[in-house]
Subunit: 236 residues, 2 copies
Amino acid sequence: MPVYIPHHQYRRRRPISLIALRDFVVGTSDGLTVPFALAAGLSGAVQSNSIIIVAGLAEIVAGTIAMGLGGFLAGQTPVEHYWGEQRRGEVGVEKIPQEAMVEIKNLLESYGISPKARRAVAHDLAKNPKKWVDFMMRFELGLEKPDPRQAFFSGFRIGLSYAIGGLVPLSAYFFSKTPLGGLLYSSLITVTCLLVFGYYKARFTGQEPVKGALTVTGIGILAAGAAYALARLITL
Amino acid sequence: MPVYIPHHQYRRRRPISLIALRDFVVGTSDGLTVPFALAAGLSGAVQSNSIIIVAGLAEIVAGTIAMGLGGFLAGQTPVEHYWGEQRRGEVGVEKIPQEAMVEIKNLLESYGISPKARRAVAHDLAKNPKKWVDFMMRFELGLEKPDPRQAFFSGFRIGLSYAIGGLVPLSAYFFSKTPLGGLLYSSLITVTCLLVFGYYKARFTGQEPVKGALTVTGIGILAAGAAYALARLITL
Protein backbone atom coordinates (compact mmCIF):
# COMPACT_ATOMS: atom_id res chain seq x y z
CA MET A 1 0.00 0.00 0.00
CA PRO A 2 1.58 3.32 -1.03
CA VAL A 3 1.90 5.93 1.68
CA TYR A 4 1.40 9.61 0.93
CA ILE A 5 3.95 11.86 2.68
CA PRO A 6 3.07 15.58 2.67
CA HIS A 7 5.98 17.62 1.41
CA HIS A 8 6.22 19.79 4.54
CA GLN A 9 6.62 16.61 6.57
CA TYR A 10 9.42 15.35 4.39
CA ARG A 11 11.20 18.73 4.34
CA ARG A 12 12.78 18.71 7.74
CA ARG A 13 13.27 21.58 10.13
CA ARG A 14 16.69 23.00 10.95
CA PRO A 15 18.06 22.32 14.44
CA ILE A 16 17.79 26.09 15.11
CA SER A 17 14.36 25.48 16.67
CA LEU A 18 16.07 22.90 18.87
CA ILE A 19 18.43 25.56 20.25
CA ALA A 20 15.48 27.84 21.11
CA LEU A 21 13.65 24.94 22.71
CA ARG A 22 16.69 23.90 24.69
CA ASP A 23 17.10 27.47 25.98
CA PHE A 24 13.47 27.66 27.03
CA VAL A 25 13.53 24.20 28.63
CA VAL A 26 16.72 24.89 30.58
CA GLY A 27 15.58 28.40 31.59
CA THR A 28 12.08 27.62 32.78
CA SER A 29 12.85 24.35 34.50
CA ASP A 30 15.75 25.98 36.36
CA GLY A 31 13.60 29.05 36.99
CA LEU A 32 10.89 26.98 38.62
CA THR A 33 13.22 24.57 40.37
CA VAL A 34 16.08 26.48 42.01
CA PRO A 35 14.07 29.34 43.65
CA PHE A 36 11.50 26.73 44.75
CA ALA A 37 14.23 24.60 46.31
CA LEU A 38 16.01 27.58 47.87
CA ALA A 39 12.79 28.84 49.46
CA ALA A 40 11.97 25.30 50.62
CA GLY A 41 15.42 24.98 52.17
CA LEU A 42 15.11 28.29 54.02
CA SER A 43 11.59 27.35 55.18
CA GLY A 44 13.24 24.64 57.25
CA ALA A 45 15.72 27.06 58.82
CA VAL A 46 14.23 30.54 59.36
CA GLN A 47 11.21 31.95 61.22
CA SER A 48 10.25 34.81 58.90
CA ASN A 49 8.93 34.93 55.33
CA SER A 50 10.72 38.20 54.64
CA ILE A 51 14.19 36.54 54.63
CA ILE A 52 12.87 33.90 52.21
CA ILE A 53 11.47 36.60 49.93
CA VAL A 54 14.71 38.63 50.02
CA ALA A 55 16.80 35.53 49.33
CA GLY A 56 14.39 34.36 46.61
CA LEU A 57 14.33 37.71 44.80
CA ALA A 58 18.12 38.06 45.11
CA GLU A 59 18.48 34.60 43.59
CA ILE A 60 16.06 35.39 40.72
CA VAL A 61 17.81 38.68 39.88
CA ALA A 62 21.25 37.03 40.03
CA GLY A 63 20.08 33.97 38.09
CA THR A 64 18.43 36.06 35.39
CA ILE A 65 21.56 38.17 34.87
CA ALA A 66 23.99 35.25 35.11
CA MET A 67 22.01 32.83 32.94
CA GLY A 68 20.88 35.44 30.41
CA LEU A 69 24.34 36.95 29.91
CA GLY A 70 25.98 33.53 30.29
CA GLY A 71 23.74 32.13 27.57
CA PHE A 72 24.50 35.12 25.37
CA LEU A 73 28.25 34.56 25.74
CA ALA A 74 28.02 30.78 25.31
CA GLY A 75 26.02 31.40 22.13
CA GLN A 76 28.89 33.47 20.73
CA THR A 77 31.36 30.58 20.96
CA PRO A 78 29.96 28.74 17.89
CA VAL A 79 30.17 31.99 15.88
CA GLU A 80 33.86 32.41 16.73
CA HIS A 81 34.52 28.68 16.26
CA TYR A 82 32.95 28.86 12.78
CA TRP A 83 35.14 31.74 11.63
CA GLY A 84 38.25 30.12 13.08
CA GLU A 85 37.57 26.91 11.14
CA GLN A 86 36.75 28.95 8.03
CA ARG A 87 40.18 30.62 8.16
CA ARG A 88 41.90 27.28 8.77
CA GLY A 89 40.02 25.75 5.83
CA GLU A 90 41.05 28.61 3.54
CA VAL A 91 44.70 28.22 4.52
CA GLY A 92 44.49 24.43 4.01
CA VAL A 93 42.91 24.71 0.57
CA GLU A 94 45.49 27.28 -0.50
CA LYS A 95 48.65 25.81 1.01
CA ILE A 96 48.07 22.04 1.00
CA PRO A 97 45.39 21.45 -1.68
CA GLN A 98 46.52 17.82 -2.25
CA GLU A 99 45.79 16.85 1.37
CA ALA A 100 42.49 18.77 1.34
CA MET A 101 41.46 16.95 -1.84
CA VAL A 102 42.34 13.53 -0.39
CA GLU A 103 40.13 14.36 2.61
CA ILE A 104 37.15 15.12 0.36
CA LYS A 105 37.67 11.90 -1.60
CA ASN A 106 38.01 9.75 1.52
CA LEU A 107 34.84 11.27 2.94
CA LEU A 108 32.84 10.60 -0.23
CA GLU A 109 34.24 7.06 -0.35
CA SER A 110 32.81 6.36 3.12
CA TYR A 111 29.33 7.04 1.67
CA GLY A 112 29.82 4.51 -1.13
CA ILE A 113 30.54 7.10 -3.85
CA SER A 114 32.46 5.54 -6.77
CA PRO A 115 36.03 6.70 -7.66
CA LYS A 116 34.75 8.33 -10.86
CA ALA A 117 32.14 10.47 -9.05
CA ARG A 118 34.63 11.30 -6.26
CA ARG A 119 37.15 12.61 -8.78
CA ALA A 120 34.45 14.62 -10.58
CA VAL A 121 33.33 16.31 -7.35
CA ALA A 122 36.90 17.05 -6.22
CA HIS A 123 37.72 18.43 -9.66
CA ASP A 124 34.69 20.80 -9.60
CA LEU A 125 35.45 21.99 -6.06
CA ALA A 126 39.10 22.68 -6.92
CA LYS A 127 37.90 25.20 -9.51
CA ASN A 128 36.29 27.36 -6.82
CA PRO A 129 38.27 27.56 -3.53
CA LYS A 130 35.47 29.52 -1.79
CA LYS A 131 32.87 26.84 -2.50
CA TRP A 132 35.45 24.19 -1.62
CA VAL A 133 35.90 25.64 1.87
CA ASP A 134 32.09 25.98 2.29
CA PHE A 135 31.72 22.34 1.25
CA MET A 136 34.33 21.18 3.77
CA MET A 137 32.81 23.33 6.53
CA ARG A 138 29.41 21.77 6.09
CA PHE A 139 30.20 18.26 4.96
CA GLU A 140 33.36 17.43 6.85
CA LEU A 141 32.86 19.49 10.02
CA GLY A 142 29.04 19.71 10.03
CA LEU A 143 29.21 23.47 10.60
CA GLU A 144 26.75 25.97 9.16
CA LYS A 145 27.20 29.71 9.09
CA PRO A 146 25.80 30.78 12.49
CA ASP A 147 23.53 33.78 12.92
CA PRO A 148 25.23 36.21 15.38
CA ARG A 149 21.82 37.56 16.51
CA GLN A 150 21.03 34.01 17.62
CA ALA A 151 23.24 34.49 20.72
CA PHE A 152 21.34 37.63 21.74
CA PHE A 153 17.91 36.05 21.42
CA SER A 154 19.14 32.92 23.18
CA GLY A 155 20.36 34.94 26.17
CA PHE A 156 17.13 36.93 26.27
CA ARG A 157 14.95 33.79 26.22
CA ILE A 158 17.02 32.12 28.95
CA GLY A 159 16.91 35.19 31.21
CA LEU A 160 13.22 35.89 30.74
CA SER A 161 12.11 32.28 31.20
CA TYR A 162 14.25 32.04 34.35
CA ALA A 163 12.65 35.16 35.88
CA ILE A 164 9.08 34.07 35.05
CA GLY A 165 9.68 30.55 36.35
CA GLY A 166 11.29 31.85 39.55
CA LEU A 167 8.46 34.17 40.57
CA VAL A 168 5.95 31.29 40.57
CA PRO A 169 7.23 29.36 43.63
CA LEU A 170 8.17 32.58 45.47
CA SER A 171 4.70 34.16 45.10
CA ALA A 172 3.32 31.77 47.73
CA TYR A 173 5.48 33.38 50.44
CA PHE A 174 3.95 36.80 49.72
CA PHE A 175 0.49 35.55 50.67
CA SER A 176 1.26 33.29 53.62
CA LYS A 177 2.09 34.19 57.22
CA THR A 178 4.70 31.55 58.14
CA PRO A 179 7.56 29.87 56.22
CA LEU A 180 5.91 26.46 56.57
CA GLY A 181 2.59 27.85 55.26
CA GLY A 182 4.49 29.39 52.34
CA LEU A 183 6.25 26.09 51.71
CA LEU A 184 2.92 24.26 51.56
CA TYR A 185 1.37 26.64 49.00
CA SER A 186 4.65 27.02 47.11
CA SER A 187 4.89 23.23 46.79
CA LEU A 188 1.31 22.95 45.54
CA ILE A 189 1.71 25.74 42.94
CA THR A 190 5.17 24.65 41.81
CA VAL A 191 4.41 20.92 41.56
CA THR A 192 1.30 21.79 39.49
CA CYS A 193 3.38 24.04 37.20
CA LEU A 194 6.12 21.44 36.89
CA LEU A 195 3.55 18.77 35.93
CA VAL A 196 1.87 21.04 33.33
CA PHE A 197 5.18 22.43 32.02
CA GLY A 198 6.73 18.97 31.86
CA TYR A 199 3.70 17.57 30.04
CA TYR A 200 3.66 20.21 27.29
CA LYS A 201 7.43 20.29 27.03
CA ALA A 202 7.43 16.53 26.37
CA ARG A 203 4.60 16.82 23.84
CA PHE A 204 6.45 19.61 22.07
CA THR A 205 9.71 17.65 21.86
CA GLY A 206 7.93 14.46 20.82
CA GLN A 207 8.69 12.55 24.01
CA GLU A 208 6.21 10.60 26.10
CA PRO A 209 4.16 13.39 27.86
CA VAL A 210 3.34 11.63 31.14
CA LYS A 211 6.92 10.40 31.56
CA GLY A 212 8.21 13.91 30.77
CA ALA A 213 5.86 15.53 33.31
CA LEU A 214 6.91 13.09 36.03
CA THR A 215 10.63 13.50 35.28
CA VAL A 216 10.60 17.32 35.48
CA THR A 217 8.46 17.24 38.63
CA GLY A 218 10.73 14.60 40.16
CA ILE A 219 13.80 16.79 39.68
CA GLY A 220 12.01 19.73 41.34
CA ILE A 221 10.91 17.68 44.34
CA LEU A 222 14.36 16.10 44.65
CA ALA A 223 16.13 19.50 44.59
CA ALA A 224 13.67 21.04 47.09
CA GLY A 225 13.83 17.98 49.35
CA ALA A 226 17.64 17.97 49.33
CA ALA A 227 17.79 21.71 50.09
CA TYR A 228 15.25 21.37 52.91
CA ALA A 229 17.06 18.36 54.42
CA LEU A 230 20.41 20.14 54.26
CA ALA A 231 19.03 23.31 55.85
CA ARG A 232 17.41 21.31 58.69
CA LEU A 233 20.62 19.36 59.23
CA ILE A 234 22.78 22.50 59.51
CA THR A 235 20.41 24.39 61.83
CA LEU A 236 19.74 21.45 64.19
CA MET B 1 57.08 32.08 0.74
CA PRO B 2 55.60 28.65 1.40
CA VAL B 3 54.08 28.14 4.84
CA TYR B 4 54.36 24.82 6.61
CA ILE B 5 51.13 23.79 8.32
CA PRO B 6 51.49 20.85 10.74
CA HIS B 7 48.96 18.15 9.99
CA HIS B 8 47.37 18.20 13.43
CA GLN B 9 46.68 21.89 12.95
CA TYR B 10 45.00 21.35 9.63
CA ARG B 11 42.96 18.39 10.87
CA ARG B 12 40.23 20.13 12.80
CA ARG B 13 38.51 19.08 15.97
CA ARG B 14 34.89 18.01 16.04
CA PRO B 15 32.36 20.36 17.70
CA ILE B 16 31.88 17.70 20.42
CA SER B 17 34.62 19.45 22.39
CA LEU B 18 32.55 22.62 22.02
CA ILE B 19 29.62 20.98 23.79
CA ALA B 20 31.85 19.92 26.69
CA LEU B 21 33.35 23.40 26.81
CA ARG B 22 29.95 25.06 26.74
CA ASP B 23 28.78 22.86 29.63
CA PHE B 24 31.84 23.70 31.66
CA VAL B 25 31.63 27.43 30.87
CA VAL B 26 27.93 27.65 31.73
CA GLY B 27 28.31 25.50 34.86
CA THR B 28 31.33 27.19 36.40
CA SER B 29 30.37 30.77 35.58
CA ASP B 30 26.88 30.21 37.02
CA GLY B 31 28.41 28.30 39.91
CA LEU B 32 30.69 31.20 40.80
CA THR B 33 28.18 33.93 40.01
CA VAL B 34 24.77 33.02 41.44
CA PRO B 35 25.84 31.87 44.94
CA PHE B 36 28.21 34.88 45.09
CA ALA B 37 25.34 37.23 44.18
CA LEU B 38 22.86 35.51 46.50
CA ALA B 39 25.28 35.76 49.42
CA ALA B 40 26.04 39.39 48.52
CA GLY B 41 22.32 40.19 48.42
CA LEU B 42 21.70 38.59 51.81
CA SER B 43 24.74 40.38 53.26
CA GLY B 44 22.82 43.60 52.74
CA ALA B 45 19.73 42.31 54.53
CA VAL B 46 20.59 39.95 57.40
CA GLN B 47 22.72 40.19 60.57
CA SER B 48 24.06 36.64 60.78
CA ASN B 49 26.42 34.63 58.58
CA SER B 50 24.60 31.40 59.39
CA ILE B 51 21.53 32.37 57.33
CA ILE B 52 23.79 33.25 54.40
CA ILE B 53 25.58 29.89 54.69
CA VAL B 54 22.28 27.96 54.91
CA ALA B 55 20.85 29.84 51.92
CA GLY B 56 24.08 29.47 49.94
CA LEU B 57 24.36 25.72 50.55
CA ALA B 58 20.65 25.22 49.79
CA GLU B 59 21.16 27.10 46.52
CA ILE B 60 24.27 25.08 45.60
CA VAL B 61 22.54 21.73 46.31
CA ALA B 62 19.42 22.80 44.38
CA GLY B 63 21.44 24.27 41.50
CA THR B 64 23.66 21.20 41.21
CA ILE B 65 20.65 18.85 41.06
CA ALA B 66 18.57 21.09 38.77
CA MET B 67 21.39 22.01 36.37
CA GLY B 68 22.98 18.55 36.33
CA LEU B 69 19.73 16.67 35.72
CA GLY B 70 18.41 19.48 33.49
CA GLY B 71 21.57 19.28 31.37
CA PHE B 72 21.24 15.50 31.20
CA LEU B 73 17.64 15.76 29.95
CA ALA B 74 18.42 18.60 27.51
CA GLY B 75 21.28 16.50 26.14
CA GLN B 76 18.87 13.69 25.30
CA THR B 77 16.84 15.89 22.92
CA PRO B 78 19.45 15.81 20.08
CA VAL B 79 19.56 11.99 20.35
CA GLU B 80 15.79 11.75 19.88
CA HIS B 81 15.85 14.43 17.17
CA TYR B 82 18.50 12.46 15.28
CA TRP B 83 16.57 9.20 15.27
CA GLY B 84 13.35 10.99 14.26
CA GLU B 85 15.09 12.58 11.26
CA GLN B 86 16.74 9.25 10.46
CA ARG B 87 13.33 7.53 10.24
CA ARG B 88 11.91 10.39 8.17
CA GLY B 89 14.90 10.17 5.81
CA GLU B 90 14.44 6.41 5.41
CA VAL B 91 10.76 6.86 4.57
CA GLY B 92 11.59 9.67 2.10
CA VAL B 93 14.25 7.65 0.31
CA GLU B 94 11.94 4.65 0.06
CA LYS B 95 8.65 6.34 -0.82
CA ILE B 96 9.63 9.47 -2.78
CA PRO B 97 13.14 8.73 -4.11
CA GLN B 98 12.74 11.20 -7.00
CA GLU B 99 12.25 14.15 -4.64
CA ALA B 100 15.07 12.98 -2.39
CA MET B 101 17.39 12.73 -5.40
CA VAL B 102 16.47 16.24 -6.61
CA GLU B 103 17.34 17.56 -3.13
CA ILE B 104 20.81 15.99 -3.28
CA LYS B 105 21.42 17.40 -6.76
CA ASN B 106 20.25 20.92 -5.81
CA LEU B 107 22.48 20.84 -2.77
CA LEU B 108 25.56 19.81 -4.78
CA GLU B 109 24.71 22.46 -7.40
CA SER B 110 24.87 25.18 -4.72
CA TYR B 111 28.54 24.20 -4.16
CA GLY B 112 29.38 24.60 -7.84
CA ILE B 113 29.42 20.84 -8.62
CA SER B 114 28.87 20.20 -12.34
CA PRO B 115 25.73 18.36 -13.61
CA LYS B 116 27.85 15.35 -14.58
CA ALA B 117 29.38 14.96 -11.10
CA ARG B 118 25.96 15.58 -9.45
CA ARG B 119 24.38 12.80 -11.46
CA ALA B 120 27.28 10.45 -10.68
CA VAL B 121 27.00 11.04 -6.92
CA ALA B 122 23.18 10.69 -6.92
CA HIS B 123 23.50 7.48 -8.97
CA ASP B 124 25.99 5.97 -6.51
CA LEU B 125 23.89 6.94 -3.48
CA ALA B 126 20.72 5.46 -5.02
CA LYS B 127 22.45 2.07 -5.07
CA ASN B 128 22.73 2.04 -1.27
CA PRO B 129 19.68 3.54 0.56
CA LYS B 130 21.41 3.26 3.96
CA LYS B 131 24.42 5.33 2.85
CA TRP B 132 22.02 7.68 1.06
CA VAL B 133 20.18 8.45 4.31
CA ASP B 134 23.51 8.87 6.16
CA PHE B 135 24.66 11.28 3.45
CA MET B 136 21.48 13.37 3.72
CA MET B 137 21.62 13.38 7.52
CA ARG B 138 25.11 14.76 7.52
CA PHE B 139 25.23 16.87 4.40
CA GLU B 140 21.70 18.27 4.21
CA LEU B 141 20.79 18.46 7.90
CA GLY B 142 24.26 18.74 9.40
CA LEU B 143 23.46 16.00 11.90
CA GLU B 144 25.94 13.42 13.14
CA LYS B 145 25.08 10.28 15.03
CA PRO B 146 24.98 11.48 18.65
CA ASP B 147 26.53 9.52 21.48
CA PRO B 148 23.80 8.75 24.06
CA ARG B 149 26.42 8.70 26.84
CA GLN B 150 27.16 12.31 25.90
CA ALA B 151 24.01 13.46 27.75
CA PHE B 152 25.12 11.72 30.95
CA PHE B 153 28.63 13.19 30.90
CA SER B 154 27.21 16.60 30.00
CA GLY B 155 24.89 16.56 33.03
CA PHE B 156 27.70 15.34 35.27
CA ARG B 157 30.08 18.10 34.11
CA ILE B 158 27.44 20.81 34.55
CA GLY B 159 26.49 19.65 38.05
CA LEU B 160 30.05 19.20 39.27
CA SER B 161 31.31 22.52 37.88
CA TYR B 162 28.33 24.31 39.45
CA ALA B 163 29.04 22.81 42.89
CA ILE B 164 32.77 23.58 42.77
CA GLY B 165 32.14 27.13 41.53
CA GLY B 166 29.48 27.76 44.19
CA LEU B 167 31.61 26.74 47.18
CA VAL B 168 34.29 29.35 46.33
CA PRO B 169 32.30 32.55 47.13
CA LEU B 170 30.49 30.90 50.05
CA SER B 171 33.70 29.77 51.76
CA ALA B 172 34.43 33.37 52.81
CA TYR B 173 31.38 33.40 55.11
CA PHE B 174 32.67 30.38 57.03
CA PHE B 175 35.77 32.30 58.10
CA SER B 176 34.36 35.75 58.78
CA LYS B 177 32.34 37.00 61.75
CA THR B 178 29.88 39.42 60.08
CA PRO B 179 27.96 39.37 56.75
CA LEU B 180 29.77 42.50 55.56
CA GLY B 181 33.15 40.96 56.45
CA GLY B 182 32.11 37.84 54.54
CA LEU B 183 31.01 39.96 51.60
CA LEU B 184 34.40 41.69 51.49
CA TYR B 185 36.42 38.42 51.43
CA SER B 186 33.87 36.71 49.18
CA SER B 187 34.16 39.57 46.67
CA LEU B 188 37.96 39.43 46.72
CA ILE B 189 38.09 35.63 46.23
CA THR B 190 35.31 35.52 43.65
CA VAL B 191 36.51 38.45 41.56
CA THR B 192 39.99 36.88 41.49
CA CYS B 193 38.52 33.52 40.42
CA LEU B 194 36.30 35.17 37.80
CA LEU B 195 39.32 37.03 36.36
CA VAL B 196 41.47 33.87 36.24
CA PHE B 197 38.63 31.66 35.00
CA GLY B 198 37.58 34.21 32.39
CA TYR B 199 41.16 34.60 31.18
CA TYR B 200 41.81 30.88 30.66
CA LYS B 201 38.30 30.29 29.30
CA ALA B 202 38.93 32.95 26.64
CA ARG B 203 42.37 31.53 25.80
CA PHE B 204 40.89 28.06 25.50
CA THR B 205 38.09 29.21 23.16
CA GLY B 206 40.43 31.38 21.11
CA GLN B 207 38.92 34.70 22.22
CA GLU B 208 40.81 37.73 23.41
CA PRO B 209 41.89 36.69 26.99
CA VAL B 210 41.78 40.08 28.72
CA LYS B 211 38.41 40.95 27.20
CA GLY B 212 37.07 37.50 28.22
CA ALA B 213 38.31 37.91 31.80
CA LEU B 214 36.72 41.37 32.12
CA THR B 215 33.40 40.20 30.62
CA VAL B 216 32.96 37.23 32.96
CA THR B 217 33.99 39.33 35.95
CA GLY B 218 31.65 42.13 34.89
CA ILE B 219 28.67 39.76 34.81
CA GLY B 220 29.52 38.51 38.31
CA ILE B 221 29.83 42.01 39.75
CA LEU B 222 26.64 43.13 37.96
CA ALA B 223 24.64 40.16 39.32
CA ALA B 224 26.00 40.61 42.86
CA GLY B 225 25.45 44.37 42.76
CA ALA B 226 21.87 43.98 41.53
CA ALA B 227 21.10 41.37 44.20
CA TYR B 228 22.65 43.54 46.94
CA ALA B 229 20.77 46.68 45.76
CA LEU B 230 17.48 44.78 45.60
CA ALA B 231 17.95 43.28 49.08
CA ARG B 232 18.78 46.71 50.55
CA LEU B 233 15.77 48.26 48.84
CA ILE B 234 13.34 45.64 50.20
CA THR B 235 14.65 45.71 53.75
CA LEU B 236 14.83 49.52 54.05
